[in-house]
Symmetry: C2
Subunit: 388 residues, 2 copies
Amino acid sequence: MHFSFLAHLECSHCGETYDHLQPQAFCPSCNTPLLARYDLAAARAALDRDELRAAVRGMWRWHALLPVLDPANIVTLGEGDCPLLPLPRLGSALGMERLYVKDESSNPTGTFKARGLAAAVSKAVEVGKKRLIVPSAGNAGGALAAYAARAGLEAAIYLPDDSPDANIIEAGSYGAELHLVDGLISDCAALVRQRAESEPGWWDVSTFKEPYRVEGKKVMGYELAEAFDWTLPDVIVYPTGGGTGLVGMWKAFHELKELGWLKNEAMPRMVAVQAEGCAPVPRAFEQRAGTNQFWEGATTIASGLRVPKSFADRLIMQALYESNGTAIAVSDETLTEGAYDFATCEGIAACPEGGATLAALRVLVDQGWAKPHERVVLFNTGTALKYQ
Amino acid sequence: MHFSFLAHLECSHCGETYDHLQPQAFCPSCNTPLLARYDLAAARAALDRDELRAAVRGMWRWHALLPVLDPANIVTLGEGDCPLLPLPRLGSALGMERLYVKDESSNPTGTFKARGLAAAVSKAVEVGKKRLIVPSAGNAGGALAAYAARAGLEAAIYLPDDSPDANIIEAGSYGAELHLVDGLISDCAALVRQRAESEPGWWDVSTFKEPYRVEGKKVMGYELAEAFDWTLPDVIVYPTGGGTGLVGMWKAFHELKELGWLKNEAMPRMVAVQAEGCAPVPRAFEQRAGTNQFWEGATTIASGLRVPKSFADRLIMQALYESNGTAIAVSDETLTEGAYDFATCEGIAACPEGGATLAALRVLVDQGWAKPHERVVLFNTGTALKYQ
């Protein structure tokens, strides 16, 4: 049997296909992300969904649906298989009977970023890239630094100079080259692009500028389906910066459908949560726009949400519209309160971005958008330890 | 089938048995820890070791061999099933061909303490205790605070006032009552004892002062056996403060033997690692003593190792002698270097205590005590994020 059923890469806009055996970035004609496509018919014939449970824990249980072709190229620190926890106290306070959190803080480096970078660094090894470069709102930099160290590759990280201390110290601690930039992640991205174009050998692993981080993140969707015995929740509330997880899970759910692994046709409504100080997605959603406008003067303490415009904005909006989802902006005050309530009511060390999902759910419950009997999953994308 | 095969509690010194349906602390006549004993013959007949792999990930897969009788009493944040990672770069630099780390940083609250407190808090719920109190060198306090919040119980934490900031902030963030003490964990313990005796309702969950934290920790041993396909490594190098994990794993290995789950009789040599500034175990080992003397003026940056005398000193020494193990003291300088090497060579965010195991292994390799072909497991007991 194939270790991976990866077939080719495809432009998410024009549909042009690209060879996955070569290093690929994004579609040069559309300037939009490429997505990995698998031979799902062959996978359907070969795989048994219920056998995956017994494999060694972690993201790579799903290797047949991940892009690495040779197991020797996998770079892992044990990412994935993060717990799905019921939230009885928070749920009861909100009148929600079936409320859960997917707690991603157990990943290496303490955040969900580990999943994407594990996939991207593994694939970099597979296609022979040795020097990896990334702009980061904080946590992606630490994750790249860790996986590059694990693989013995060089890494360069560009972070806003007002990122949380923990992110700055962390990225440096793995021996990566660290640049603190007086600006936002968009300014970091410009410097990264410039360097990757002017110096040989650098491989830009910015969000969606290469096709594999989203593949690591999509596994969160597989894990949810498995945990709910091959059905999907009614609502997923997701803190959205670059949007890799949101787009990835939406992709995963469609793959599961095509694999015939889901017990019914019901898809979740996807909710993108952003901060009021940087809310390009809710603004676009209100205007029913297909893409985002750059958000000027982005500011929020939830550093992972300080992304003025995602490179995958079109895919984010598409997931929201297709799923009958919505987009919510919450204040720094309410997201901080959300993180506090996670800790004191449930013992969960939520990051501000995780707190934002609880704040958003409160709005959705008030609006009657989320119903008491609905199965709702919040996402805590990282540990509070990075924000002390 | 029984949810748990717990049979009774037993004094680890005089063998006196105690009823597990009542709250029990330690043996009042011997002043030594109680250990949980299971009906392993019945368990052997009822359980299939290979079926455990497919259960929902985490420590509670092993519920039949854990002390909680009613699943409704389990208080969980998703602890356990932490990755066992090969260390190819560090191993090759040391000439060790089969070197691994058990990376406990993926636990809730970022350390192995979560396992023990998950068990103790669950059992507190089961026997009706509502107010939990603990002295802590740092991480146990945060873990108790989290699990108490999760269970809706009251918690009081006594920490040395020079504990890492992260520990102090963390314990408070879950809403626990926090006391900063000008002294060591032994001074904190005295205050806890005093309060538990003078105020009604407080349940002292100090290391080995109740019988269940060690039950949570022992699961690390089960997980190792499972990961190595029901054989055990040759050497386990473990940073030893209170020693719950070391004693717990040694207990687990004997339970596995009695269950008939191990493919051969080979038991690991257990290595206790401490810091030169607080080394009661290596000192006792050198003297072939059965217990430890209180270490005066304990000082080390590895706050988890700043334990002048464990309440389970006899059990720790017993595990070392019975296993043909050893005890090593390392300097703060070499343990810091160990943590640095974990990060830069392997991408693993090791805490100082984790770094100490690598420093100790270097000594053991130099001495020829650890052989190149031997399967050696280091323990990283927590995330570096708490020590930034």
